[in-house]
Symmetry: D2
Subunit: 324 residues, 4 copies
């Protein structure tokens, strides 16, 4: 899925070293394990997304896997902001991990015995419906991650009787699964990105995504339209858009955008250049293979061939060719 | 700021009762206290945003104050999703609360003595820069809210020596403030909305916002453009846009949008009707006064007067008036 | 084809009287003869398009048939300008007449004997290719119309041996046809419009056209785009557009536009109202049945039903309906 | 005004030879005389616009001056069509000639004595108001040009007593001017273009125009919008647009467009290339200096510098530059 990470241009001379949002056993580590070679590589858990990204910036690791979006909660805003603000990071791969939760305890016990549950607040939000239906008057005790919650249950460091965690960490720690598939919305996936220091852009695969951060030049009707016209005029599809406050006060925004396609494709390159003209503060955060491998449908009029033919035609005119 | 909440049409016959994202002392309660009359009203803390909203839906309270966006972290996605999914809720007011944090302990102590800090993970993300600069090798212990963290410090229920919390809760509980203004980004504000059951739309003030949820009819280049054209053609400004997965699998999206203006204004009403034609699943989540009171600039060609004049002109033609 | 001209609302109490661009026997009279009842009505030839229109304005005739476009030469600009400038005229019907020419002489003669040909300059332009191929070194003598040319040949009032004219006038005058179908582009048709004083707009037939004159408010990039967005946003197709100088100096323009649809259709009415807001000088010149009877394809999202549903939805919101 | 015509790249080795729409003394010859060197060059009158263009195509002349638009009548459609259809012609210069008419006779005479007037039908249309006000029941006798009419008056070859013609031809032929400035709309100008065989495009002057012929790929709502977006997205202003039937039956159109700018400017070149992608049948008919010398205002975001900066930025990304 993330074959580009093993591209010779990316592969470090030394053995690869990765950071990820820890602790061990989180969905993020599961995402990292999808990267070819990561299972054998050194994997360093970080206490937060910014901490993981700092390890990349300082050169302590080759890349970091961090969560960026899931189909239940939308953007994980801290990650997007951190990548956008960092000037020396780009995205080189994307991973999708199905989200499923189990209720796990240190020893077998009936559900009625569970009077307090520990997990991360986001995980709790995703199983709350199940919990209200199956656990009577249960108390929620927040933990810093689902893996941490599982560990606390294992070591008896919490007053909760059970943890909501991933099937994987329950298995790794040898916990007893009291209930599985307890997520309220089944089929959810979380999107993760692999972030590294700048280098060659991963090669185009025909099923790619490009991530951008674009400060909107003016706060007026039509400014967003004009921005989007740069994409639609070249047949470039967006797959995500979020206006985000710049942190400099309400009313100042930038746009975080994922689009379909790779910067090596003419329609994408020209659209990005078009945005750059009116919003020179645009930041390119990476072109990388889509985790879902869904290749985009590119119509003839925005194919690389159409761009090349148009380029040749206009070149002939400007060059004063005798036949137009 | 939220005078509409005292509008006779909204004011319940019985004494008002409000829910808010608790526990007591959070920024959300501070937002609620801005609502005229709320200081004297019954205020019920809820354990989560969905819980607060459920209390409104079940008629246990008149309205609920919940966080929806802050200028550091963007949308609070769970709230938006919960309001969008609920079919019997709308937004009637908006509040802004400046975000500032203090480091508070049960008794005076030097910063060097603080080896572990407890707070909500979002709050920790906003003071982490300060903490790394001022606290040596400090450990972070997550709590379910900043107010809960402060309470745990007061009652000695945590191994942390200090809590990151709001100035208000520190004062309410009588904690000692070790450092104040410790947020990494100053000037941040959090946006809250007051949600109630359907009723008359709050009256237009000239400085209003309207919130919508729009399922995108088709996943193709230009679909978003066509949607936005419905707004730009009528001079309607957007102040927030987020594409959000529907939860039904990656690739299916709806758009969460805030626009400038009130549904009672012709340009807004016609734009909404225009969207409705191609996206009949559009949901109107409320028109309400902007908390920042910033009135929009409406150009002449999209004023209510211009709409009325155009209406009269076209009516004369269709009606077969002799002079056109 | 032009059944609306017989609509009781249009039919004058007295016997109908029509003007047309004369003299007798022109394609314009042929167009007029398509109007039900015109064959029996009084038909007055006018010496020019403005003269014919003046007869309508002064009430001397009920309506006038004038040429407005043909598929070889595009807009007949004088007509468009005259209708646009007149404040008391509108278009109530459209006619199409196939354009075919014959070469006619007073008596039978070989083509080699034709050393000079008379006709209208526009007609000459349409047969010049044939003339160069079949007539040796022929001289062209301009006449004020093809019918006038035929008359001059009949009466020997010209030094030309033959006239280029319509098959009809050759037959009417008893001229000998030396060659027929001599037009360089076969299949050409000329479009004519029937112009009358203001009255009820002809009823919608489902295959209608609407003609507008729109002064462009500003001479800048995007002004035309914004104008056209008013149409495209409501799915309204244009079938003709021409920028035309206002006569007040180069650089000032208005747009002459034909669109598909009738002002009684919601999408057309709302588009016209939308244009009116930013260009209140817009002039409605008529909605009338298309001569080619080609009915337009109206997509669901811009059907009258979709407009009505959207109207009802937004009305429910503004009216404070409890269910949205 | 038309200095490019003397550009060494255009100047023929032999003495220049020009065709123009004759006969001698027309406004078209006046336009030609504005071309540097044309006064001394051989000037050949042609009987029609297509005849003049044929002389260019066959190499009998270096270039031809033909009328293309005037501020009273809009496009002179035959010229546009002829240039569009010809595959070996392009426009290298533009001339503007103020249109003013005189009433001229062979000898002095009172206006009451003028019972018939001869001139070209277009000229008659432009003085008809004056004629109706000053000449009692005057008859109009069409001539093939204003100059021909003047010649006929001089030689007594017409039953008219006076001709409507240009001041110049009246002076050249020694006619008596009975009235001057008789045009109904003063300040009118006619636009002429100088057409030659393909060669280097005239150099950019900063106040240029580009003429295009664009077949519309599809007859549907939005097709024209998408075409125009290619211009508006790059800040390219249109100064003329006309939809024109292709001659292949009603309902098939191409667009004749003049835009502000020169194909050597990045924004124009990229817009043309953008149109070429979806309408590869686009024809470039020339970039040439504007006769009115009005330089366009190019905003920063579409300047050549902005295009170059964007190009460099995107090149750095695609090239794998380490800093983005």
């Amino acid at each position: 899925m993330t074959g580009d990470a093993t591209d010779p241009r990316h592969r470090p001379a030394h053995a690869a070293r990765y950071a990820y949002l820890g602790p061990s056993g989180t969905f993020t580590e599961a995402a990292l394990l999808q990267v070819p070679g990561a299972a054998e590589a050194e994997r360093l858990p970080a206490s937060s997304v910014p901490a993981a990204l700092s390890m990349v910036e300082r050169g302590e690791v080759d890349a970091a896997m961090v969560p960026i979006e899931n189909s239940v909660e939308g953007g994980v805003t801290a990650t997007l902001d951190a990548v956008s603000v960092a000037h020396r990071l780009h995205i080189v791969a994307e991973s999708l991990v199905p989200i499923s939760f189990v209720l796990a305890a240190a020893a077998p016990m009936p559900l009625e015995g569970v009077r307090a549950v520990t997990t991360h607040t986001h995980a709790w939000a995703q199983v709350r419906g199940w919990a209200e239906g199956h656990l009577d008057d249960v108390e929620f005790l927040p933990s810093s991650s689902t893996a941490a919650a599982a560990g606390e249950i294992l070591r008896g460091e919490t007053s909760a009787q059970a943890a909501v965690c991933s099937p994987l960490v329950a298995e790794q720690l040898g916990l007893h699964v009291l209930a599985e598939g307890i997520e309220d919305v089944s089929g959810a996936v979380t999107r993760f990105v692999l972030v590294s220091r700048p280098g060659p852009v991963p090669e185009m695969t025909g099923a790619d995504k490009t991530t951008l951060m674009i400060p909107l030049p003016q706060d007026r009707a039509g400014a967003l339209m004009e921005l989007l016209e740069q994409f639609s005029t070249r047949g470039v599809n967006l797959c995500r858009i979020e206006s985000r406050p710049t942190g400099g006060g309400l009313g100042q925004y930038f746009f975080s955008i994922d689009l379909e396609g790779h910067v090596a494709e003419s329609r994408v390159a020209e659209a990005l250049a078009g945005v750059h003209r009116s919003a020179p503060g645009i930041r390119f955060l990476g072109s990388y293979p889509r985790a879902d491998r869904r290749s985009q449908h590119v119509t003839d009029d925005v194919s690389d061939a159409a761009f090349a033919a148009a380029e040749q035609w206009i070149g002939g005119i400007v060059g004063g060719a005798s036949e137009r």
